[in-house]
């Protein structure tokens, strides 16, 4: 049954797999960049920038990804000509960046304050101490939670199916609408998602144990 679904639909499945991977990678890059910017904004001593950073993060964390996606798809697309794939991917990057910002901030906050003091006591200024000593350690501490965000991002890319983003979930609906076998079709699609998220989650667990163990 499952084999038949694979052989009958290898083309849409492969397309879907490709679009899901594409959206995930683009989403990851976008959200890492944006998330780091948000995190730095949230940590600056400058109150206005800090306020804006916090507000943006809170905003995107607290509304559903679907709402952001639909907004891009039906409203923003009037202005920028973007199709479902790009609407979904942009929404994904924006939404995820709020979580990434929190991970990075959490990582930096959990660096022993003695590290900052040690550097300041030797005459390094705040920026030097941050860039040379604290931020590199913060990133490392944030790695496990960043990894989890990446897994969430892959799963959340299924949002593209709402806006005809051609991803795996979209193909699942097309295929099961045609073969009337949702049971096996969704299992096949589930396996495809696990192919992406499973290994990553194993790596993340290992990493968490390793970092947790050495501290």
């Amino acid at each position: 049954m499952i084999i038949k679904i694979l052989t009958d639909n290898w083309q849409p499945l492969l397309t879907g797999f490709g679009y899901t991977i594409g959206a995930s990678i683009l989403g990851l890059i976008g959200s890492l960049v944006l998330g780091t910017v948000f995190a730095l904004m949230e940590m600056t001593p400058q109150p206005l920038i800090r306020g804006i950073g916090k507000a943006l993060v809170e905003f995107f964390r607290n509304i559903p990804l679907l709402v952001i996606t639909l907004f891009f798809y039906v409203v923003v697309s009037h202005v920028l000509k973007i199709n479902g794939f790009w609407a979904g991917t942009l929404a994904l990057a924006l939404y995820t960046s709020a979580f990434i910002a929190e991970c990075i901030r959490g990582g930096v906050n959990s660096v022993d304050p003695g590290q900052m003091e040690g550097a300041r006591a030797l005459g390094l200024n705040y920026t030097q101490a941050m860039m040379q000593v604290v931020l590199p350690q913060g990133f490392k501490l944030a790695l496990p939670s960043l990894g989890n965000q990446f897994i969430n991002l892959i799963k959340n890319s299924s949002i593209l199916s709402f806006v005809a983003g051609l991803d795996l979930m979209y193909q699942a609906n097309v295929i099961s609408g045609a073969n009337l076998d949702p049971f096996n079709t969704y299992i096949v699609i589930g396996i495809f998602y696990l192919l992406l998220t499973g290994p990553l989650s194993v790596v993340m667990t290992k990493l968490e144990n390793k970092l947790g163990g050495s501290n």
Binding site: R61, N62, L65, S158, M169, P182, S201
Partner: protein, 216 residues
């Protein structure tokens, strides 16, 4: 023109959707909290065979998109004789998915209590389960409150995915309303964004309040 979107009829309809959103959320939160805690304890205690099987199930489910589980529950489970309407299917899918997420949180909370607490209890002659019940669980649950609330916020947001199986919750209803007139789009987006934000931000303030209290 745009303000016509906020007619009494439309608002009444949309708020009904908010009711469904909250209803699904509350029921799913209760169910998944109970099962998530149970699973979390089993994962933490490393019960032979049982914990490994559970871990495999948990890892499988939490690595799948929730949307897939919703579709599966609504369209595929009837093949196994389990027939659910859109509301029940959403509750079931969310409870299964969130239980696995919460089990990881509870396990983490228990781990964060530290080995010393359970060794203290064991060395006075308490059994493993007595130590768990009297010492570890109270502290572990307390440590889990902030991440649990974040998870509940996710859950509230994720109810919008049930739009896909025509559960007439808030996001779906906003689409019905702006389906009447494209001019209603922006007002509707603004309104549901505000409503989701209010619900979830209240939850996150609650979480921050707990965090502050716990750190004292």
């Amino acid at each position: 023109m745009m303000l016509a979107a906020f007619s009494a009829t439309n608002l009444h309809y949309l708020l009904g959707g908010l009711g469904i959103t909250i209803g699904v959320s509350v029921i799913s939160i209760i169910i998944s909290f109970i099962f998530g805690t149970l699973f979390g304890v089993v994962l933490y205690e490393e019960v032979p065979y049982f914990s490994r099987t559970l871990q495999l199930m948990v890892n499988t489910i939490r690595n799948l998109p929730l949307l897939l589980l919703i579709f599966f529950t609504y369209f595929a489970l009837p093949k196994l004789g389990l027939e659910l309407n859109a509301f029940a299917a959403t509750v079931v899918a969310m409870s299964v998915f969130e239980s696995t997420m919460i089990s990881q949180i509870i396990r983490g909370g228990l781990l964060s209590v530290g080995k010393g607490q359970s060794e203290g209890a064991l060395s006075t002659g308490m059994t493993k389960w007595e130590a768990l019940w009297y010492i570890l669980l109270p502290q572990g649950l307390k440590n889990s409150i902030p991440p649990l609330i974040s998870q509940f916020i996710s859950l509230v947001k994720d109810t919008s995915l049930a739009t896909a199986i025509v559960l007439t919750e808030m996001t779906f209803r906003s689409q019905v309303i702006y389906g009447q007139n494209p001019n209603y789009m922006i007002p509707m987006f603004a309104l549901i964004t505000a409503l989701y934000f209010i619900v979830n931000y209240s939850l996150s303030l609650l979480s921050k309040w707990f965090e502050r209290r716990l750190s004292l």
